[in-house]
Amino acid sequence: MHPALWISKTGLDAQQMNVQVTSNNLANVETVAFKKGRAIFDDLLYQKVRQAGAENGNNAELPSGLMLGTGVRVAGTEKNFQQGNPNRTDNPNHIAINGRGFFQVLRSDGTTAYTRDGEFSISSTGALTTNEGLLLQPSITIPPSSTNLSIGHDGTVSINLAGSVAPTQVGSIQLVDFINYSGLEPIGDNLYIETAASGAAQSVKPAQNGAGELLQGYLESSNVNVVEELINLIQGQRAYEINARSVETADKMLQFITQML
């Protein structure tokens, strides 16, 4: 059948995924520490229709070969780990990372996941947990009836015990860093897990060796730029329409030949 039909089908598929990625970014415009995604397009293999210099009979020689493209695919979606704005919330349990690094949390299956969402809560046992109740690692326990929870730029967590004037250190928050953030696999709930592409997690202290500092009372906002996403949406929609037009044209050509001959 007409090759253009299948080529435009790949175009329609790819643009549909493009709009899907853009919609997901827009849906997460208010998600704490959300990192926007971008669909990466890659042209498909080229088909060698004719080799240059081949004999074509009657001493006619093909002066040059012909390579026909076969369409497009979405090679992947890449997260952009640009820093989101630290927004002040005044909640002492909220921590934003200003710079590189991730918090480590313990998943229910015993594996470690990584997040930049610092919207922590204190569980019934006094441990710092995420919104989903996953424990921050290494775990920090806040003793009951303590006051003035204070988290330093370097991750030191201190509190004032009841009746005591001097602050007591109860632990310190550690971060991890990866060589290739784009290789991290997002698993939802603002969590990421490491993959072969991201490299192994390297433990770092906040505000040291290039790691970001911690800001208590702040949350990192989503790094989605609404204007950019809306433009992507328009572009994706138009590109979709253009590919649909290719389908229509190829269809008309086939229709024409079946009716004429």
């Binding site: 007409h2 090759p3 253009a4 080529i7 435009s8 790949t10 175009g11 790819a14 971008r38 990466i40 397009f41 890659d42 042209d43 293999l45 080229y46 088909q47 060698k48 229709v49 240059a52 009979g57 009657n58 006619a60 093909l62 002066p63 040059s64 070969g65 012909l66 390579m67 026909l68 493209g69 369409g71 497009v72 090679a75 890449e78 952009n80 640009q82 060589i179 290739n180 784009s182 290789g183 592409a197 390297q202 060796n209 290039g210 572009q235 994706g236 138009r238 590109a239 253009i242 590919n243 037009r245 290719s246 044209t249 190829a250 008309k252 050509m253 024409f256 030949i257 004429m260 001959l261």
Partner: protein, 247 residues
């Protein structure tokens, strides 16, 4: 009936041309895609002592248009776009050096610098291996430097320089992976110090949807003309058959 075959080659080559236009339109969002320009040419097959009527159609090697696409800001520090008429040298799957303008770079799981289509980016010393690093940076001149893991920040070590070349455009041909390779007999590439990189941006596709849509419509109409001609040949055939019947 040779004329029927002449129209047939016209129609079937136009289907290929249509495929090329459709492929350009499908790649309207592909990073640094260079659109193909399908061209048809005449392939005369004359025999001695006959009328020169058989001129078949052939589709020529498609040249690509090398004009630059729009630069799109991504904010990703490893994304580079080439300012000027140059190419990045990459290694194709066949191990040969090939050229592309696609510069959405990243570090592969094996620790090599690759671009968005997963081809190894070549430096002056072959593929660029990036050791475990806290920071990787690409300069405007293509110099890749890194801060070793755990080192005190600020001490960048130069790793290699991305091979930026100027290539003879008429000697470049797309291979099956969509990378540009030099055709045999063309002049070689040369490194050009005037070329530089813009970081934090990628080059968009250079497909102009309007031109391609026009090409699509134009090709469809030419195709219909050829099919009409085939219809005429059929009518002529029928007419000659009727003459035979009258006899």
């Amino acid at each position: 009936m040779s004329s029927l075959f002449v129209s047939m080659t016209g129609a079937s080559e136009l289907v290929k041309k249509q495929a090329a236009h459709t492929n350009n339109l499908a790649n309207v969002s592909t990073t640094a895609f260079k659109f193909d320009m399908p061209e048809t040419h005449s392939m005369p097959v004359y025999q001695e002592d006959t009328l020169p009527t058989r001129v078949y159609t052939g589709t020529k090697r498609m040249g690509a248009d090398f004009s630059s696409g729009t630069f799109i800001s991504t904010g990703n520090e490893l994304d580079v776009a080439i300012v000027g008429d140059g190419f990045l040298a990459v290694q194709g799957s066949d191990g040969q050096e090939a050229y592309t303008r696609r510069g959405d770079l990243k570090v592969s799981s094996q620790g090599f610098l690759i671009n968005g289509s997963e081809h190894l980016v070549l430096g002056n010393g072959g593929p660029i291996a990036v050791p475990p690093a806290d920071m990787i940076s690409i300069g405007q001149d293509g110099v890749v430097s890194f801060v070793p893991q755990g080192a005190s920040s600020g001490t960048y070590i130069v790793l290699d320089k991305i091979k930026l070349v100027k290539a003879p455009l008429e000697g470049l041909q797309k291979n099956t992976e969509g990378l540009f390779q030099l055709v045999a007999g063309s002049a070689g590439v040369e490194e050009d110090p005037a070329l530089h990189l813009e970081t934090g941006v990628v080059e968009g596709s250079n497909v102009n949807p309007i031109t391609e849509l026009l090409g699509l419509i134009n090709t469809a109409r030419q195709y219909e003309l050829n099919v009409q001609m085939m219809k005429k040949h059929e009518e002529n055939d029928e007419a000659s058959a009727r003459i035979m019947q009258m006899k």
